[in-house]
Amino acid sequence: MSTTLVDMGARDRRSDKDADFSAYMSARQAALYRTAYLLAGDHAGAEDLLQTAFAKLYLSWDRIRDREALDGYVRRIMVNENNSLWRRAWKRREHTTDTIPETGAVDTYDDGMGGALWSFVQTLPPKQRSVVVLRYYEQLSEAEIADVLGISVGTVKSQASRALAALRARAPHSLNPHESGDDAR
């Protein structure tokens, strides 16, 4: 079977797409992995989130005109995937019948106040946690968070408020507003 010009054109386009996508992945994978880790709370979950997000981005690559918006797309997919209670339950069901791939990863963080706060952040409901990660790690505005999560700015504010209240309630005394100076503001 001879190779046609149409075949060659398709191959060239695929090659260009893969090169562009590869360049984006090389540049941004490590940074986006950190966000995935904060959302998922462990390395296996982070890898799953990020790979799914990259895969969905790859499938939509040709439709995305604004290359400046790529990180936002990936973040949005990761947050939506991570917030799906059903997706998490589905994964658990798969894991009870399939072998869980062992990553051998060891979580690393300090064991002082940062470690304590991080452990409290991990106990927040997924939507509150997403708001916390997007606000205090990604440093997005409330409007940007609303856009990523597909919710209103008011809901972002209420989720953030509930998350901080929960952290205050669970955190050690050194984070109590009376000792940290919150009351002074």
């Binding site: 893969d18 996508f21 590869s22 992945m25 090389s26 490590a30 992995y33 950190r34 904060l38 890898e47 990020l50 790979q51 990259f54 895969a55 969905k56 981005l57 790859y58 499938l59 939509s60 439709r63 995305i64 604004d66 918006a69 797309y73 997919i77 939506n80 799906s84 209670l85 059903w86 339950a89 589905w90 658990r92 069901r93 894991h95 009870t96 963080y109 300090d110 106040m113 940062g114 470690g115 991080w118 952040v121 409901p125 997924p126 916390v132 205090y136 409330e142 597909g150 919710i151 809901t155 504010k157 989720q159 901080l164 952290l167 205050r168 955190a171 984070l175 940290s180 100076g181 503001r185």
Partner: protein, 412 residues
């Protein structure tokens, strides 16, 4: 939002946790392999949908152009939604096929659960299912007469605990809490639990009474309260009870049936009178002693959006076939925001089932029956109508097979 010391500490903690991570575990080959899996699943779902409706020709590659599936790659910035005037018609045969819904579906005839386009067989018939701790909580049918049991299940749907008879269950808007009621032999007990099992369950026994004075949770209210409906067995009318976080109960008077509750705004909807050809409903503020916010005799008011801003209005005379129309109303004022009407509603028996779900603050997922087929559709507040792929099934007249696994509106 000016930073407080706690916010500064959260910022620092997240950065200290994340910054040491220098991982780049994937190659483009890995990502392409995952993309192929996703694409195969989407193709299978879309193919099943096309086969089900038999006669719709979709051009090759149609799924690869135009706007992406709602849940995957949205635009970077959302333009303000245009104000839709007039009525949006729902025609499942001509609607575009959208991405699989994030609202899971149960097929009660051939017991199975579909999540994000993937289906697994269920070991028994369930009316509702929702994730709980490491497994699930399900409302199982115990007989053909509407009997139900609440079951705590492991990840593979093995029963760990069971109570019967039980009501349907409701889930809070943020998904963190689940509630149901079960009968202990002398009284109905309202139970609510944190989904992650982090708090001990709260049990609120109601006044002793017969089993057929059925109790069901209608929805959560702000401050860990619950709106509960209790049926009067003689007239099948429902009275309203607010269960407080401390287990206290207080009635909301003058109701005939309960519709929905918002745990964001504290508004509740309830039927308060019947007319010659329909019914009248009120929206009340449970936080203000049940003060009436507004009333209507045009709609049955069911289903607040997760953010509490909108409320769904079905026909004021609901039948088992459902409603031929669906209005999206401003929950605070009752002003109509958008009208949907099912194609064929004036010439044949068709209906939107009232057990709908909100995918997000702007999107409703509903099942509808037209002719002998049941479809799942996604309705946007911007007036978009999509058929959710792969979900058209044959049904007997007056029957439904597909149900939302955890609907926003629970009627039983």
């Amino acid at each position: 939002m000016s930073p407080t010391p706690l916010e500064d500490q959260v910022h620092d903690a997240l950065h200290r946790t994340a910054e040491p991570l220098q991982r780049a575990p994937f190659t483009v080959t890995d990502v392409r392999a995952r993309a192929r899996r996703i694409q195969r699943r989407r193709t299978a779902v879309a193919g099943a949908a096309v086969a089900a409706v038999l006669a719709i020709a979709i051009p090759v590659g149609a799924g690869m152009v135009g706007p992406g599936p709602r849940s995957d790659v949205p635009p970077a910035t959302q333009p303000p939604a245009p104000r839709i005037t007039g009525t949006v018609r729902i025609d499942p045969l001509s609607a575009s096929v959208g991405a699989a819904t994030t609202v899971p579906l149960i097929n009660v005839d051939e017991p199975s659960l579909t999540v994000d386009g993937e289906t697994v067989d269920l070991p028994r018939r369930y009316d509702q299912l929702t994730p709980y701790v490491e497994g699930w909580i399900g409302i199982a049918f115990t007989d053909d007469g509407g009997g139900r049991a609440v079951q705590v299940l492991d990840p593979d749907f093995r029963v760990l605990d069971e109570a019967a008879p039980a009501s349907g269950m409701v889930v809070s808007a943020d998904g963190s809490r689940i509630a149901w009621a079960s009968y202990d032999g002398s009284r109905w007990v309202v139970v609510d639990r944190d989904r992650d099992g982090s708090r001990e369950e709260r049990q609120t026994p109601l006044a002793p009474g017969p089993q057929d004075a059925r109790v069901r949770p209608v929805g959560f209210l702000p401050g860990d309260a619950l709106l509960v409906a209790r049926t009067d067995p003689s007239g099948q009318l429902e009275s309203a009870i607010v269960v407080g976080p401390d287990g206290t109960t207080s009635p909301l008077p003058d109701t005939l049936a309960l519709g929905s509750a918002s745990d964001v705004t504290g508004l509740v909807s309830m039927k308060t009178s019947v007319t010659a050809d329909g019914s009248c409903w009120e929206v009340r503020d449970a936080g203000a002693g049940g003060a009436v916010a507004w009333q209507t005799c045009d709609y049955s008011l069911l289903g607040f959006s997760p953010d509490g801003r909108h409320l769904l209005g079905f026909t004021d005379y609901l039948t088992p076939e459902g409603s031929p129309t669906l209005a999206v109303l401003d929950a605070a004022t009752g002003e109509r925001v958008l009208d949907f009407e099912l194609v064929g509603s004036r010439t044949s028996v068709v209906g939107i089932q009232p057990e709908v779900g909100w995918e997000d603050d702007e999107t409703v997922v509903a099942t509808l029956v037209t002719g002998d087929r049941q479809y799942v559709v996604r309705l946007g507040l911007d007036g978009t109508v999509e058929r959710v792929g792969g979900e058209a099934v044959e049904v007997e007249p007056g029957d439904v097979s597909l149900k939302l696994a955890a609907p926003s509106v629970v009627q039983q």
